[in-house]
Assembly symmetry: C2
DNA sequence: GGATGTGAACGACTTCACAGCG
DNA sequence: CGCTGTGAAGTCGTTCACATCC
């Protein structure tokens, strides 16, 4: 559930601000979500709150991290070091949530050997071997649309468990592999649609 | 509806491949969507198909573009020219769908004056004036979390109709303004959650 | 009183199934 | 016969409302 990540983000903010307990109402308000929704979402995973008091922020952060799987490190491989790839490597949010980019690959021999944030770019031909070697579990695809499916196949055969696809093309993977696709152009289209319709339902991609 | 953009993407691909007509079944198959769903989605906006034949690809592309609002140009302003901002400027998908980045702004005086893909970076202090001048209707926020709300407020007061927010912080805007938020870290969290659960529902962020 | 957790009511979205057209 | 368009049925997610607990 995408909302859990939003809760976690907000709870971490509250923790930094020294807030010790929070009600479903206040947590929801900060995110534009109803209090009932917040309680249902959290209630699904266990009993974290105390009636009349609310939820203990620090404890809840730990619980939500455990639910989301960000209570431990995830070794990640990035494939494709164009502009978007670079942005992803530099993105602090990944590291903060335990996602460590351990290897970078590119199809272009010109880019191989470059060092990005201290990580050496390796040739895509080594992808399968290296992913297995480094026990990498998640792969991020940031290559052009044409290459996306081939890279996905390689990542799967190398043993990753999940793929985050930024290429603007649908890729298919076996059922046992998790897949999240983010198409940036679609986000803008969705925005232009909303503007045209005037009908503003708030969306978060979670 | 996010799926419309997916249909458009696939239909454009078919058009390039010279396919002239398509059934709801085949369009859906390419995207992992049921045929009934495709018919419902398209049927909501009009009668585009012919029973026994299918949908005319070229005509349908035009219709969907009109529905999504990508049948005309959208002047866009980008605020924040870090790694992500650069990736967005270089992203071909935007231009292809009619989104033209007409101005780039940054808070950092060091970055002002640089030229990115032929566009000169302007100071954020000029944002309000320039957005109105250039009749810009959409704004993309790619600044750090702390600055996001202030930039959003400025964009709104300058008259944009929609905002695409890449900053990892929830921002609030008046009801009449459309808002789409994309938090990259949340996508990875959603992936790690799926991997942990083993439960793979396919997600597309439109 | 203030807040949680949760069944029950509600609504939105999806799939089913089929009449009807080409 | 193939395929669309669409009511009807079904499913999933959200909101309501309240018993319960601090």
């Amino acid at each position: 559930m995408g909302r859990l990540s939003l809760y976690l983000r907000q709870l971490e903010r509250m923790l930094r601000d020294g807030i010790e307990k929070v009600s479903s109402r206040r947590l929801g308000e900060a995110l534009g979500i109803s209090d009932a929704q917040v309680r249902k979402d959290l209630g699904y995973f266990g009993h974290f709150g105390r009636a009349g008091v609310g939820y203990p922020v620090e404890e809840l952060v730990k619980s939500v991290r455990r639910i989301l799987g960000t209570d431990h490190e995830w070794p990640v491989a990035l494939v494709g070091i164009g502009n978007l790839g670079r942005a992803l490597v530099g993105y602090r949010g990944f590291r903060r949530q335990g996602f460590q980019i351990r290897a970078i690959f590119d199809l272009d021999p010109q880019k191989v050997g470059q060092s990005i944030e201290g990580i050496c770019v390796e040739p895509a031909s080594d992808l399968a071997r290296r992913v297995a070697e480094l026990k990498i579990t998640l792969g991020i695809i940031a290559v052009p649309a044409e290459a996306a499916q081939a890279i996905a196949d390689t990542l799967v055969s190398a043993g990753v468990k999940g793929i985050l696809n930024f290429a603007p093309a649908p890729i298919s993977v076996p059922d046992r592999i998790s897949l999240v696709a983010v198409d940036l152009a679609i986000q803008l289209e969705s925005l232009s649609y909303q503007v045209r319709i005037g009908h503003t339902d708030r969306e978060t991609s979670e």
